[in-house]
Amino acid sequence: MNERFFSGEEQEARDRRARRLLLLLGVVLLFAFAADVLFGSVALSPGQVLASLFRGGAGMSPEDLIVLRFRLPRALTALLAGSALAVAGLSMQTLFANPLAGPFVLGVDAGASLGVALVLLAADLAGPGLGARFAALGGVAAASWAGSLAVLLLILVVASRVRSGTVLLILGLMFGQAVNSLVTVLLHFSSAQRAHGYLAWSFGSFSSTSWPQVATMALGILPALLAGYFLTKPLNALLLGERYARTLGVPVERVRMGLIGVTAFLSGSVTAFCGPIAFLGIATPHLCRGLLRCEDHRLLLPACIAAGGGMALAADMLSHAPGSALLLPVNAVTSLLGAPVVVWVVLRRRGGTS
């Protein structure tokens, strides 16, 4: 007799559990952030770090400099990049109903790569001195941004004409492949030094950002994250496929444009300052779905922000191999660290079946 009442409670219990997990993810994120600031190549005590954080101004010691000029912007960069990529991946996976889709599925990274490769090659032609100065002025970031933006515009033009999501996905993939081969050609004709510069960029890094760059990045990412939150309701409807979404009154074309725009902004901003960070964008949404055991984007999106940021911070910390001068490429660490975690979550969730 009380079945209805009872199951209503069960429903709420599930929501409560998801909220608790969300809170937990937030706490983990804070810890990861603190840890990333506390640990680095140079061993500093927590007391030293705290003191440096609140000093600022004139008369900075080398320790203050390490904390304020390097570790803090680095940690913020990782946090922003991780959340941005996770949300971008989540949007693309739902939009294309494809678990393998990620932030770069429409070729945004290819556009960025082309921009970077062009700048490096141009620097070669212009002479080493000029090239170095250009790179120091954030020319790589600007080129990457320009490349991403070009791809974004192209995709939006195509998306407004193509009705089918699958076709759009294929076009994006093909476009990315074609641009990547252009990059290969460019690299083939550039000097070994420049090619190595490109390679280093493509490994990904959170540590090459200055404060103004962090601010620029935040300016690109935070509004896009907010816009993403406004799209969570149509994203939920899109879980049923485009046709069902239409019967629910979702303006599918407009939502698709919005999602592509948000994604391109997020992943473009990250790529500009950190290089193409692999894995996080594809893996984090799966991790969050597994942890929260739900498909509701109103919960998944904040979870992705927290988990993506946390994973990026952890990867950054590990790539700096605390206490040593060793520096590993971020891309290698994200995949090595994240793949087992995601495999575990995915297998546990479905019990390895179907």
């Binding site: 079945e3 209805r4 199951s7 209503g8 069960e10 429903q11 599930r14 109903a97 406004f230 969570t232 309701k233 939920n236 409807a237 879980l239 049923l240 496929g241 046709r243 069902y244 239409r246 019967t247 629910l248 009154g249 979702v250 303006p251 779905r289 739900c294 498909e295 509701d296 109103r298 179907s354």
Partner: protein, 360 residues
């Protein structure tokens, strides 16, 4: 007086690619009966889904007009349209990880605010839809854990939670066994009665449609659409014609097919007895190619169906001028009949006679 719910005028449905048009069905002009369950029937590939998708505004019509409450379909704002018309589409393998509750709650989409938060009345509508389709127990199950029938009910509940005036369903009973087919259709028909809803449902199984729908829309060859009460369409012969071929005649009431022309029975038997067992016995005889003697017709034997209390074999077979046999099951009966009235007349060689082969 309110305008009719759904009116079609000279509607043509089909596909357009560039300048090429492929008309699937139409033109037809008719209105949907309000507060009734109308079954859309027709052969495979005749355009049932195309018509339903056009009515859901998922694809544009090739020509003609459609009116919902007197206003052209295309002029309705999408949110307002979604609050009046909901659909169960033919795609099924979607969102396997979603729970039943979340799926049904998505039906509230056109009614909720920008964040999609469920208010008290939204929750009530979801609970109501779940209980009407007897899915309340499954609310926390994921879709991939459900059987085909349960998943189908979950999607129907989702459409119901949308609280539409008009519910369009594309083959909601495909993959279901007969019991669940009938259950689904009668349930939808009851909804029409109790909630002033109107249902248009594409049904594959013609005998289910004939027995349980209030009204039929029959998509015939050449893309014409006939309408009427099921019995009207049977009387006019339209239903029988549609599903008959050169060799088989379709009987819409029984849903069975019979061979055309002079049927040669293996034998004609009289059946005696009462109840379900008698009906089953007659059905088995017909299936095996025997005729059933009525009145004074000549007969080559009698089959008596004994009451269950008789024990030790309920079917008593008395061939004309032969020994009486008593068997316990229909399977045994049909073997006995095969022995008495062989399919291959005695004397016919079982295999072609061996050809004498000389050495060369």
């Amino acid at each position: 007086m309110t305008a009719p719910l759904l009116e079609l005028k000279e509607l043509c449905v089909g596909y357009r690619r560039g300048r090429e048009e492929r008309r699937v069905a139409g033109p037809f002009s008719l209105g949907l009966r309000e507060g009734r369950l109308t079954a859309l029937v027709g052969r495979n590939g005749i355009g049932k889904s195309t018509l339903l998708r056009t009515l859901c505004r998922l694809q544009p019509p090739l020509g003609g007009e459609m009116f919902l409450r007197g206003r052209p379909l295309s002029e309705w704002h999408r949110g307002e349209f979604a609050r009046r018309v909901s659909a169960v589409l033919s795609e099924r393998e979607i969102a396997p990880d979603m729970t039943v509750f979340d799926l049904v709650a998505l039906g509230r989409h056109p009614h909720t605010d920008w964040r999609g938060r469920l208010r008290r009345e939204d929750r009530a509508a979801v609970e109501d839809a779940l209980s009407v389709l007897r899915m309340s127990h499954f609310r926390n199950r994921s879709l991939f854990e459900l059987s085909d029938g349960e998943r189908q009910r979950a999607f129907t509940a989702r459409a119901l939670a949308q609280e539409p005036e008009l519910l369009l369903l594309d083959e909601p009973t495909a993959f279901l066994d007969l019991l669940h087919k009938v259950e689904t259709v009668t349930l939808l028909r009851d909804l029409c009665r109790t909630r002033r809803m109107t249902v248009l449902v594409a049904i594959h199984d013609i005998s289910v449609a004939v027995h349980f729908a209030d009204h039929l829309w029959l998509l015939a060859d050449e893309g014409t659409l006939l309408e009427g009460a099921p019995e009207d369409l049977v009387l006019s012969g339209a239903l029988g014609r549609l599903f008959s071929s050169e060799t088989l005649r379709f009987d819409p009431f029984s849903g069975r097919f019979f061979p055309f022309g002079g049927v040669r029975f293996r034998a004609v038997l009289e059946v005696k007895g009462e109840g379900e067992a008698r009906i089953c016995a007659e059905s088995a005889l017909e299936r095996c190619g025997f005729g059933i003697a009525r009145g004074d017709a000549l007969r080559e034997g009698t089959l008596e169906v004994l009451p269950e209390s008789a024990g030790n074999g309920r079917f008593l077979l008395r061939p004309q001028g032969g020994r009486e046999r008593r068997v316990a099951s229909i399977a045994d009966l049909s073997e006995e009949l095969d022995r008495l009235f062989p399919l291959i007349p005695a004397g016919t060689p079982r295999e072609p006679a061996p050809v004498p082969s000389g050495r060369d």
